[in-house]
């Protein structure tokens, strides 16, 4: 009797010991081995074109430098899996992930600072891109390998049928969306089309992500810099309120946003555009290969976003190379990021009709028209160069995106809500988030 109790206690104790093992001392300086194989994690679907593209890039890198790279593609729960490796104190050497992950990864101590002096190609980087890899204190923690910005896709045949010009102002934009909704552009005699395709679900903050194209073009902001690396909420500023009102009217007054948008993330929204249910869509270039195949290249066109009340600012996004802490091959890490942003690396990354990892080049010396003669890419490159804007690298951007997505979603779903009250609530919530992250302006 006694003994069996002891066994039970033993089990419990060992469980406790095993779990407490996981919290050891912080990242140790690993012994360097310049020949060690570099482990690279990339956030893309395993077996998909993204992985193929990454492999092409790493193979070119291996050939050029003699380093060895092992690529692992992970899509679902990428960040959680990275945490697990962090718990084992054995991070991959390199991570290729979204630029917006910078704050989160840096505040967890997962990154090592990049010495730009060792990355000779960094002088050719587009300034905007270089900036996107800096943390709030101005230190470089990541370098982008690919960029993208939003542009407007329009159903060309619909526009021709209704004899409309490409929109030059927000009024044109709204008028076109309304015409696509009410004037039966597909000519089937039924009112079954909508102007604008918009993923406005709260999932992953899509509503906020999509709305940022409009908010920024109006001169509004989610949070705005208040000096010395601090921020304050800005959703009740005059510009933000007007942007929200205008965007809301598209859905509530003109009814020109696709029905069901408030529960749709990107896959079902893409389908509405492909299926000829919607005629305008503000997206990045990564959807072009897909729409070329499903809808046909001749059916739609890519134009820059029309100027808003302030300018034509659109959301810039992209992928960055992160050099992870604790690597035993720092020279190899430097060499890889240097290759990825070099003219050669960028060209390898852009090659092919599908399975390219570089959307728009981040290297100034690379001319996109030479690699991709398709003028639509030129439009995207131009939008990025002149009007692209990244989300700020605050320690954790996700809560800001979630909170704003919830509000945008609410205002679009329920046309009876008072806009100002909702935005005031949102500002209060944002203030709390900023305070929690220690970057609130006093």
């Amino acid at each position: 009797m006694q003994r069996s109790r002891w066994i039970g206690a033993g089990c419990l104790a060992s469980a406790l010991v095993l779990t407490s093992c996981t919290s050891g001392p912080a990242g140790v300086d690993a012994k360097q081995d310049p020949k060690a194989t570099l482990e690279l994690w990339t956030r893309t679907k395993p077996g998909g074109p993204g992985e193929q593209g990454t492999l092409k890039l790493t193979q070119a890198f291996e050939k050029a430098t003699g380093h060895k790279v092992k690529v692992t593609a992970i899509f679902d729960d990428f960040e959680t899996k990275l945490q697990q490796r962090a718990a084992q104190k054995k991070l991959p050497d390199l991570v290729m992930n979204d630029v917006t992950q910078l704050g989160a990864m840096n505040s967890q101590g997962l990154l090592r600072e990049i010495d730009l002096g060792r990355i000779k190609n960094s002088k050719d980087l587009i300034d905007r891109g270089l900036e996107s890899g800096k943390s709030l204190d101005g230190k470089q923690y990541a370098l982008p390998y690919s960029a993208q910005a939003s542009a407007l896709l329009i159903r060309k045949d619909w526009r021709a049928k209704l004899k409309l010009d490409t929109p030059k102002t927000w009024d044109d934009f709204a008028a076109m969306a309304k015409a696509f909704t009410t004037q039966d552009p597909d000519g089937d005699g039924k009112q079954n089309t909508s102007g604008l395709a918009a993923p406005l679900s709260t999932k992953r903050g899509y509503a906020s992500w999509y709305f940022s194209n409009f908010l920024w073009a109006a001169g509004g902001d989610f949070i705005t810099e208040a000096g010395k690396g601090t921020y304050k909420p800005a959703m009740t500023s005059k510009e933000s309120v007007e942007a929200m009102q205008w965007f809301r009217d598209l859905g509530c007054k003109d009814k020109s946003v696709q029905p069901g948008s408030v529960t749709m993330d990107t896959p079902p929204t893409n389908e509405t555009f492909e299926a000829g249910k919607t005629g305008m869509f503000v997206v990045g270039p990564y959807l072009l290969p897909r729409f070329d195949e499903s809808l046909g290249k001749d059916k739609y066109e890519v134009v820059p976003m029309p100027k808003g009340p302030k300018d034509a600012t659109v959301l810039a996004e992209g992928g960055s190379v992160y050099l992870m802490a604790g690597s035993e091959n720092r020279a190899g890490q430097d060499a890889f990021v240097d290759f990825a942003i070099s003219a050669e690396g960028q060209k390898v990354g852009m090659a092919g009709d599908t399975g390219f990892v570089v959307q728009l080049p981040v290297n100034k010396t690379v001319d996109i028209t030479q690699v991709r003669p398709d003028p639509r890419w030129q439009t995207y490159a131009e939008a990025y160069r002149t009007s692209g804007r990244y989300a700020p690298s605050i320690p954790n951007w996700t809560p800001v995106r979630q909170a704003t997505a919830d509000t945008v979603n609410a205002l679009m779903a329920d046309c009876g809500l008072d806009l100002r009250t909702k935005l005031t609530e949102l500002d209060k919530q944002l203030a709390g988030i900023l305070k929690e992250q220690g970057i609130a302006a006093s």
Binding site: A26, D77, T202, G260, V262, T263, D406, A410, L417
Partner: protein, 318 residues
Amino acid sequence: MSLDQADPAALPAAGPATRPAGADGSRKRGRRSGRWWTPWLFLAPALLLFLYFKFIPMVSALTMSFQDVQPYLGNKWVGTENYATVLQSLGFREAAWHTVVLAAGQTAGSMALGLALALLMEGQSRRLGFVRSAAFLPVVVPIAVVAELWRIMYHPTEDGMLNSILGLVGFGPSGFINDPDSSMASIMVTGIWRGAPYDMMIFLAGLTGVDRGLYEAAKVDGASRWQRVRYVTVPGLRSVFSILFILAAIRGLRVFTEVFLLTNGGPNGSTEVVMTLIYKLGLEQNRLGVGAAGAVLLFVATLILTVVVQLLRRRESK
């Protein structure tokens, strides 16, 4: 587990069934040379699996719920801060209320529909077997497919599938999951559609245990069909009801997938449940400590619910 299983093991004389075969002659020696571990040896594979895949993760989740989880820098103890974050987060109370409403609605709806289906499909006929399998299909279909199916059926315009049926009987198009007023009910209906056949199967099993003689006796006494259901079938299924209630309530509290796939808590937070909130706070924001705290809270709520139902049952059976 340990006491129930350990008692007979530690006192081999008390439970001959647990003693290894052929131990008669060696009872004395067995006691001396540590035969006490034999049952543990048999249990070891299962215990080891439980230890690594259940108990250790549970304990570490509990530890994590008191920590700021930063695996690389080392976790920091923050006391009950994570719990405060969850409990004080905007909309936690609403989410808890939504969860209760959804759990209650789905449980009641599935049980009512399940019982009705079971009564309709009770019997031996071979054709019934086919119908039963067909009715059981929603349970077997992966939830991701179910959600996509219902999203199509819930299309918010007049030419949407359910809306065109509503149109036939003169009701205007409903927004279903896209309208904050009807989103919760829509998710509930999806849940009932999926849960009812499962309940039906358990009811069917329970129905075979109801004495046929009682039906005949009731019939002889002049009971109507409804009265037979009311006074014979339902009391006969009492234990089935309580099992189903516990299962459904636990399922209801943990509801996640259908909400996540259909609305992700929107529109305007009208369908936010505890699990989607935990997912947002903990996993999407990569704050695992907060996620763990939420999970522990949910576990405690489930535990309390189960214990209360058990106590009520015990009191009733006395």
